[in-house]
Amino acid sequence: MSAKKNMILISLIIGFTFTSIAQPIEISVSGTPTFEPSLIRISEAGNDFTNNTIESSTQSFISISAINFWDRLSKQFGYRVTAYKTDINMHPSLILEIKRGSNRHGHFNKSRIYHGRNWQPVTNTPVYFFSGSAPTYNIPVSYRIRNISVLIPADDFETTVIFTVYEN
């Protein structure tokens, strides 16, 4: 092999090293879930809230794509997504849960998604949410809050939900 070919190989190695540091798969989240205030109501004096669990009226959407040129080209990379939350002002009794919907848009029907169809709690430590393969766009994520009660002080409770994608 000539010195020129060696230089090309070295360049590729450096290039791939930087690519590897730059992370090969990216995740983007759009949309913000909202909870309708009208769902939090009391039917009669003396009662707790009618619904102790409310589901968001809007969803957020997760898209997974590859940064790596070869992965993007092949559309055959595998990934897994974890979820956790960081609380800004959250009551310990409130339980946040998520699940994904089935609708999504993939590339040439190569995208596959596994798990995440059942409600699961989001805690302050990352937990596995779902996995899949190939670029996939607009995976809907629904949210619900459990344990809503008049025993919780009136306040605006805030948290940030963070999704992380790892390449399998």
Partner: protein, 191 residues
């Protein structure tokens, strides 16, 4: 030598290519807000009518006084749901006041029992018997975020009694038929 170098570089290339597959994750998130509203709800419950009648018994024998012994009623229950903002000292009270003329010579009194324990949270504490007047007075205090349960046998039972103001006030009694009064309960922030 060159051939070995090329093989070595090729191996390194493959290793780095594979290494790409095992890098740390990339994250993105969004905010989420849940608003728990303030709640102030109070209701009166009774097995039948919420209107009650208190009338002392007339004496059967000339020379005896009106008998107030049975002029009491415990048919009403007070229920409430309350959410405060949870701040220190942010509690609520139930006040009671009456509109309309209370007959001369008598006191209309009301007391609330302790909570029946069917609900949850920081339910209030009754203050004991209150002599009703047009001025709002506390009858239950220390209410935080709680619910008592709805309907009769939930919350606090109210006991009304009509009593002679004092022995000397008998002269003030005036035959006037029925006097209709309205008793108003309010769940309000404690002052």
């Amino acid at each position: 030598m060159r051939r070995r170098l090329s093989i070595g570089l090729t191996i390194i290339f493959i290793v780095f290519t594979l290494r790409v597959q095992s890098q740390s994750g990339q994250s993105q998130g969004h905010g989420l807000t849940i608003s728990i509203p303030e709640v102030v709800m109070l209701g009166l419950e009774a097995t039948s009518s919420k209107s009650i009648v208190l009338n002392p018994e007339s004496p059967n024998t000339a020379g005896l006084a009106l008998d107030f012994a049975n002029s009491h009623n415990s048919d009403l229950w007070i229920n409430y749901s309350s959410i405060t903002d949870g701040g220190a000292g942010h509690l609520r009270s139930v006040t009671v006041a009456v509109t309309g003329p209370i007959p001369k010579g008598v006191d209309l009194k009301v007391s609330a029992s302790h909570d029946a324990g069917k609900g949850k949270g920081a339910v209030g504490v009754p203050l004991g018997q209150v002599i009703l007047s047009a001025e709002a007075q506390n009858i239950i205090t220390g209410i935080g975020s709680c619910y008592t349960g709805a309907g009769v046998n939930n919350g606090h039972r109210l006991t009304y009694s009509l009593e002679l103001k004092d022995p000397d006030s008998y002269a003030a009694l005036d035959y006037g038929g029925s006097t209709g009064l309205t008793v108003i309960y309010t769940l309000t922030d404690s002052k």
